[in-house]
């Protein structure tokens, strides 16, 4: 048994992106770092949506809470009153380093996802989709106006920009590794069984509720962690952690193929690469001697069209929901591998 085989392709893709990011100029490097952060974000989404087959529009709220936690705790003490004048006393007096802030971001995501999941994981289908949307709305609304825990409507400036290529790559690898370990564990397999057939799975003694809750909490932790990475990269504000990010990350997962970890990574890299290129093109870029200058807003249109096309033409995503295995000879008499749905 080559147990780690399916981890190879996603991890290699992340490493290759990181190495490529080290080779380019500093201004282009930002795009690579951003892409790597998106990988951890989409892997967080995949951990729940991919394994459970239940839609969630709420994960960006865990990202936002993670970003807020890491951001509030890592702005230097001296600069806090200027950015966040109404901050609660405890938060104003506490400042932590880079790694603890990321850990706390993951913890915040975990706790929120657990709290939200306890009631919500009883739902499925459309009710789950709409209820998780409700979570996104509530968290956005609170972060937007409750200034005791953050900058409210202002951007989170002065957060130390520690997320470079290395931190983003290590973060993405951690997320990929955790998602892989989970999906190979008995819990991951049980959840995948409920995805394929909830009735048969519960007849086999699996608690759909518990397995979903576990995956939801884990993916909340990864999402919070990704939020921490994100805030250490850019001065975000509430609007950058709301509908647009929900759309882009869902698009990435769908384009790559929500059924496999490889799909999540490929989708994040492909869409993010395209998106970064178009973002550059909106500012004017020279490509193979042709000067490209696209109007602002083209990005979302292209990504939207791409997502719709993939959904219509190839609903399983680019990877078709399959992991990449090394080619091997099938032993005679063994059953053909089942196609992943």
């Amino acid at each position: 048994m080559r147990r780690g085989e399916e981890l190879l392709a996603p991890a290699a893709l992340v490493l290759a992106t990181a190495l490529l990011g080290l080779a380019v100029s500093a201004s282009t490097q930002t795009y690579f770092v951003d892409t790597l952060v998106k990988v951890s974000l989409v892997v967080a989404l995949y951990l729940f949506i991919g394994n459970s087959g239940v839609l969630s529009f709420g994960h960006v709220s865990f990202v936002a809470v993670g970003a807020w936690t890491a951001g509030v705790l890592s702005v230097p003490r001296a600069e806090k009153p200027a950015i966040m004048p109404n901050l609660a006393h405890v938060l104003r007096e506490t400042t932590v380093g880079n790694v603890p802030s990321l850990a706390l971001a993951a913890l915040a995501g975990l706790v929120l996802a657990l709290l939200v999941g306890l009631p919500l994981m009883r739902l499925s289908g459309l009710a789950a989709g709409i209820a998780t949307f409700g979570v996104l709305e509530i968290v956005d609304n609170v972060l937007r106006y409750y200034e005791k825990i953050g900058p409210g409507l202002n951007a989170f400036s002065s957060v130390p920009e520690t997320t470079g290529v290395w931190q983003a790559a290590v973060g993405a690898l951690l997320a990929v590794g955790l998602a892989f370990a989970y999906q190979r564990s008995r819990f991951g397999r049980m959840l995948r069984a409920t995805r394929e057939d909830p009735a048969a799975a519960s007849a086999a003694g699996i608690s759909v509720y518990r397995q979903r809750l576990l995956a939801f909490a884990l993916s909340g932790a990864v999402a919070g962690f990704a939020g921490g990475l994100y805030i250490h990269l850019l001065p975000l504000n509430v609007d950058s952690l709301y509908l647009d990010l929900t759309f882009v990350t869902l698009a990435m997962l769908v384009v790559g193929g929500s059924g496999s970890l490889l799909g999540a990574v490929v989708g994040a890299l492909a869409v993010s690469g395209l998106d970064s290129f178009l973002a550059a093109a909106e500012n004017g870029v020279d490509l193979l001697g042709v000067h490209l200058d696209l109007p602002a807003g083209t990005r979302v249109i292209v990504v939207g069209v791409l997502m719709a096309l993939v959904l219509v033409l190839r609903p399983g995503g680019l990877t078709g929901g399959r992991e990449l295995r090394l080619p091997r000879r099938r032993r005679p008499g063994s059953p053909a591998p089942a196609e992943a749905a």
């Binding site: 009631p119 949307f133 979570v135 709305e137 869902l250 979302v300 939207g304």
Partner: protein, 301 residues
């Protein structure tokens, strides 16, 4: 004069009823298409946005208001049919979740097209603005649009009820909503029924576009986006399996948000979405199939 128990003024009550009416129309528009296609149309708000832009351009070109309204209907209907042909039809066999994500993508697509074509600042649709002035009824000021919206919503819902119960296409739509496979075996033509539902839902979107632009004449690319999110919550809250329960859900959430908006003290009214969605989640926990549905629906294997 106020309603003492709730500390709500008559104006707030009328506005809440009007918002409930408009949201009920949106809910029917979403519910009808869901009935025949099992598709929750997230892009419904962008149909309304397109209609609102039509009104804004018509008033910019100095068209009379009936011309603007005609243009609004034409644009929304054309867009509805185009969406059905290009997106919904190829996706018919997919699961509801996939279709929801697809319409989510379409919503963003249409919104960014509007952003690209018309800019982020928005346009003013002013030709119907006089409707925003108040009428004084026995000492109480009530905006005309509130009354117009309530009357129009009631009228539309009545017409729709007649269409669904008294015409053959309505019967076919209800049959298709109940069990599409059996309905087709009994001679209901799929494309005709779906086309009919999409058209009716488009007409409702155009009506809503007119109502909303009167209340909020500044048309931006995210026009009606928030309303759609709230209505979607309302529709799921009411229960999607019958048009009537979806309508009631839409009305309930519109009315609740109108009353809450008026009743909450100013320093808390910014948290209105929090209260609203927390209530939605609570209700979904108690009744996951919807508030206004009869009996539990058990998924058969």
């Amino acid at each position: 004069m106020t309603l003492a128990i709730l500390n709500v003024s008559w104006q707030t009550l009328a506005d809440a009823l009007a918002l409930g009416g408009v949201y009920a129309l949106m809910a029917v528009g979403i519910g009808l298409v869901f009935g025949v296609l099992r598709l929750v149309n997230f892009a419904y708000g962008q149909l309304i946005m397109a209609g609102a832009y039509a009104l804004a351009f018509a008033s910019q070109w100095g068209w009379p208001s009936w011309g603007g309204i005609l243009l609004c209907f034409a644009v929304v209907l054309a867009l509805s049919v185009a969406l059905d042909r290009l997106v919904f039809r190829p996706l018919r066999t997919q699961s509801p979740a996939v279709m929801l994500v697809a319409t989510f993508a379409i919503a963003f697509l249409l919104q960014s097209i509007a952003l690209l074509a018309f800019g982020p600042l928005g346009k003013i649709a002013s030709s119907l603005a006089p409707l925003n002035r108040p009428w004084t009824i026995s000492g109480v000021d009530i905006r005309k649009i509130a009354i117009v919206a309530i009357v129009v919503a009631a009228g539309c819902l009545l017409l729709l009820q007649l269409l669904l119960t008294r015409t053959s296409v309505g019967l076919q739509m209800r049959a298709a909503a109940m069990d599409f496979g059996t309905a087709r075996l009994l001679g209901v033509r799929a494309n005709r029924v779906i086309g009919g539902a999409v058209l009716v839902s488009g007409v409702l979107a155009a009506v809503v576009a007119v109502m909303l632009t009167v209340q909020n004449p500044l048309v931006t690319p995210d026009f009606a986006l928030r309303d759609t999110i709230v209505v979607l919550a309302g529709v799921v809250l009411g229960g999607l399996n019958r048009p009537i329960s979806a309508t009631l859900g839409g009305f309930a959430i519109g009315f609740a948000s109108g009353i809450l908006g008026g009743a909450l003290p100013t320093n808390q009214s910014q948290y209105l979405p929090t209260f609203l969605f927390a209530a939605v989640i609570l209700v979904l926990l108690v009744r996951p199939n919807g508030l206004f549905t009869r009996g539990g629906v058990v998924e058969r294997v």
